[in-house]
């Protein structure tokens, strides 16, 4: 156990130096890309905002079912089957057909090549499930159908979220999917997420619709409130143009009326429709509806054929800027709810770094002094090993550009405390061996060999705990699992290679000395 070949010594030295260099790249700037890596600081250390958003898919499902009723009715009309009493209740579609038609309806829904009810061969499932309840048919989304629907609305939502966050211009935002209905937004360096929160909280569904008094409007009507919540107007459900038709939107100052407005440019289709609607609708009120509320309802005075226009509605410059941003980035497919928020100010982050570093330094000093007092020369070996171990640990974290959090720093300090365990196990074993063994070399060899199973057992148990924590833990706690887990490997390396190398050099030079340890 005490013999080291020259090659091995070279390898150990190179390995240690490499990681020390990588670790030191956090302090110095290297020109080389490989070395110029840095440990990422978690949001709790650099300050920033963590937002977990959940997509509310209910409206999407409702809308899809609504569309489906029309599709089903038209589809079977072509096949000369009459669908009766079709209605939606609690996310199910119910309808009746005559007894003669029942089988053909079922066949259509259960046909794997059906274009009404797509089949996913990979999951062996249709999009929709149909059940003959005896009284009527019940149609609803299958499990896979719902998952598809959710993932697709998540895909759309994350794109819109990204655009909105990018427009605000924070540095290096991190936007990730979580499950099939959540989006995680990490915004480093942002200590007041108010604006982003309000931007993400809006669906930004914009429509232009005529105000009408005709209750029997062909498209149906609905009563909508104005933004101020006081007035109401009856608005046709017919959509003239929607947010999708916008090419651009910008806040502007209208110097004539001395108010802030949002000017917008329409795409070709939008411009055509807008022109037509404004030419036929002169004198009518055109309501500008955002997320179910009327922003304003100006009277159409002229035909607007240029494809651009403006929205006024008592905006401040800030609200106009935000509305323009929302319109530019597009509407969310479904409302988002912020279900978890954690924001740390940059000065608290810095305080945490300082406190963590002080605790690390003090913990380190205490352990080093303790070990030196207890083991003298071998304490020194342990201590030098411990320092190298710390650098290798930091080096590994740097190499993988791991995220260091406050609990992560605690994990490093804990590693310092527990890392000496392996050396202690070895040294104590050697002491025991020396009771019956006069040959130093043999005693040291025996000490290393006989302590091995205990050391392995001890480290595996801690590693198991760290692994579970890594997979189950969230956020900062994960950082703890990382440092604790990586710490176990670097500790074993430094104990069995570095400390053993030092020990072997010392013992072979002093092999005849009595009471070596």
């Amino acid at each position: 156990m005490l013999y080291f070949s020259k090659l091995r010594i070279l390898f150990i030295t190179l390995f240690s130096v490499l990681f020390i260099l990588i670790a030191s790249s956090n302090l110095f700037k290297f020109d080389d890309d490989f070395f110029d890596k840095k440990i990422n600081l978690g949001l709790d250390l650099q300050g920033g905002s963590y937002l977990l958003l959940e997509i509310d898919n209910e409206p999407v499902i409702e809308q899809k079912l609504q569309n489906l009723t029309t599709t089903i009715r038209n589809y079977f009309k072509e096949k000369n089957i009459k669908i009766n009493n079709i209605k939606i209740d609690n996310q199910n579609i119910f309808f009746n057909v005559t007894n003669n038609d029942k089988q053909s309806v079922l066949d259509v829904f259960q046909d794997e090549n059906s274009d009404l009810n797509p089949y996913y061969p990979r999951f062996k499932s249709h999009q929709l499930e149909i059940e003959d309840t005896g009284l009527n048919f019940k149609v609803n989304f299958s499990r896979q159908g719902l998952i598809k629907l959710k993932t697709s609305s998540q895909d759309q939502a994350i794109e819109i979220v990204r655009r909105r966050v990018d427009e605000v211009g924070t540095n290096e935002p991190n936007i990730l999917k979580r499950g099939n209905n959540r989006i995680l937004v990490e915004l480093p360096g942002l200590d007041d997420p108010m604006r982003i929160k309000s931007l993400l909280g809006k669906t930004a569904n914009l429509t232009f619709r005529f105000v009408t008094n005709d209750e029997n409007d062909r498209f149906g009507v609905e009563k909508l409130k104005f933004e101020n919540g006081l007035e109401e107007a009856t608005v046709s459900k017919r959509i003239i143009i929607s947010g999708e038709n916008l090419l651009d939107a910008q806040p502007k100052m209208d110097t004539q009326a001395n108010q802030t407005i949002v000017s917008f440019t329409l795409d070709r289709v939008g411009a055509k429709r807008f022109g037509k609607a404004t030419s036929t609708g002169i004198g009518k009120q055109l309501a500008i509806v955002l997320d179910g509320k009327i922003i304003s309802a100006p009277v159409v005075r002229d035909t607007i054929a240029s494809g651009s226009g403006q929205i006024s509605g008592g905006f401040t410059f800030q609200t106009a800027t935000d509305l323009a941003l929302l319109l530019r980035s597009g509407a969310l497919p479904a409302p988002l709810e912020i279900i978890e928020e954690r924001t740390v100010g940059p000065d608290l982050g810095q305080d945490s770094i300082n406190a963590g570093m002080i605790a690390l330094a003090i913990g380190f000093m205490l352990v080093i002094i303790f070990m030196f007092v207890k083991y003298k020369i071998f304490g020194l070996i342990t201590n030098v090993t411990l320092i190298i171990n710390l650098f290798i640990l930091l080096g590994v974290l740097t190499l993988f550009e791991a995220t260091l959090t406050l609990p992560g720093i605690a994990g490093i300090i804990l590693t310092v405390g527990m890392a000496v365990d392996a050396n202690v196990l070895i040294f104590e074993r050697i002491k025991e061996e020396l009771k019956d063994e006069t040959n130093n070399i043999l005693a040291f060899d025996g000490g290393y060999t006989k302590s091995r199973t205990a050391i392995l057992d001890a480290n595996i148990t801690t590693l198991l705990a760290a692994i579970i924590l890594f997979f189950m833990g969230s956020g900062p706690v994960k950082g703890f699992a990382v440092t604790l887990g990586v710490g176990i490997f670097t500790t074993l390396f430094s104990v069995y290679f570095i400390a053993r190398l030092f020990t072997s050099i010392y013992v072979s030079r002093n092999k005849d000395k009595e009471k070596l340890i």
Partner: protein
């Protein structure tokens, strides 16, 4: 040699009492869950005006109709921790609070940290915390069951349960807050306690093979003594590191390091007085380990 075995019965009794008391506390008093597991809002606030203190803050917050508000000093005199349920899950609550506080205190305060955990997330976090701890206990059980004879596994697992239950009992007794980092601490305690037990068990098994004529009652005592200096040194260095975190690592890590400190103390104690006594009570002998060796 210290006669640890003289007190096996005494300490078994003490541990039983501790476990029963802890369980009673956990059942009847319960744990003080933080917003991570209960949901709600937390604000860490730093004041630059001496007018702002716990009672003036409490007055202000109570007027805002936020439900149950707790205001506490956090570390030094200028830092405060405010927690409330946020039952209606009001999204603009932080903004409203700021406006409200501005009226009384002007610009003399600063929100250093804001956390808002919705009810759905907190329920999930609690669930995954419980799963993580159960899973780690199960994994330890499997590991030790592979490595040792069943008598040893039983001893180690009992020691583990003792450490986790008593640590949580102390948290319940003093109403210390349970948050995400406490779960991390409990998992680490599980690892540490196991580690400590395994080292002694390794020695017990080695001695069982070596001596056929020494009874387990004596043998455990010999093994404990042989590994004693290691037990003391490792506990000491680990405690030194943890004390450094507790005293210098800032307020946020206080709960975590306290739980770990308790865990290390209980873990060290239980390795000696629970894990080993199980071996004694199960009358483990040389035959127990030799039979296993034969099978291998």
């Amino acid at each position: 040699m210290i006669a640890f075995n003289k007190f096996y019965n005494h300490f078994n009794l003490l541990s039983s009492v501790l476990i029963v008391v802890s369980l009673l506390l956990l059942i009847f008093k319960g744990l003080n869950f933080g917003i991570d597991f209960k949901g709600g809002t937390l604000i860490e606030l730093r004041a630059s005006d001496s007018k702002i203190n716990v009672s003036s803050l409490r007055d202000r917050f109570n007027q805002m109709d936020l439900g149950d508000v707790s205001v506490k000093k956090f570390g030094n005199d200028t830092d405060f921790l405010v927690k409330f349920e946020n039952k209606d899950n009001n999204k603009n609550i932080i903004e409203e609070i700021k406006v409200n506080l501005d009226k009384s205190f002007g610009n003399n305060y600063d929100f250093r940290r804001v956390e808002n955990v919705g009810p759905k997330v907190s329920a999930e976090l609690l669930k995954s915390g419980v799963i993580a701890i159960s899973l780690s206990l199960a994994l330890m059980l499997i590991y030790i069951w592979i490595r040792f004879e069943w008598q040893f596994s039983l001893g180690a697992i009992l020691a583990l349960f003792h450490d986790v239950i008593v640590t949580l009992g102390v948290f319940s007794l003093f109403s210390l807050e349970i948050n995400l980092s406490i779960i991390a601490a409990v998992l680490t305690i599980v690892g540490y306690s196991m580690n400590d037990t395994v080292v002694i068990f390794d020695r017990v098994r080695e001695n069982l093979r070596k001596y056929s004529d020494i009874k387990i009652f004596e043998l455990t005592n010999i093994s404990i003594n042989e590994t004693l200096s290691r037990t003391i040194i490792t506990s000491a260095t680990t405690l030194l590191a943890l004390l450094a975190i507790y005293f210098f690592g800032g307020e946020i890590l206080k709960g975590f390091s306290l739980a770990m400190i308790l865990g290390v103390v209980f873990g060290t104690y239980s390795s000696i007085y629970i894990a080993n006594t199980v071996l004694v009570r199960l009358r483990v002998s040389q035959k127990t380990v030799l039979r296993e060796d034969d099978q291998k």
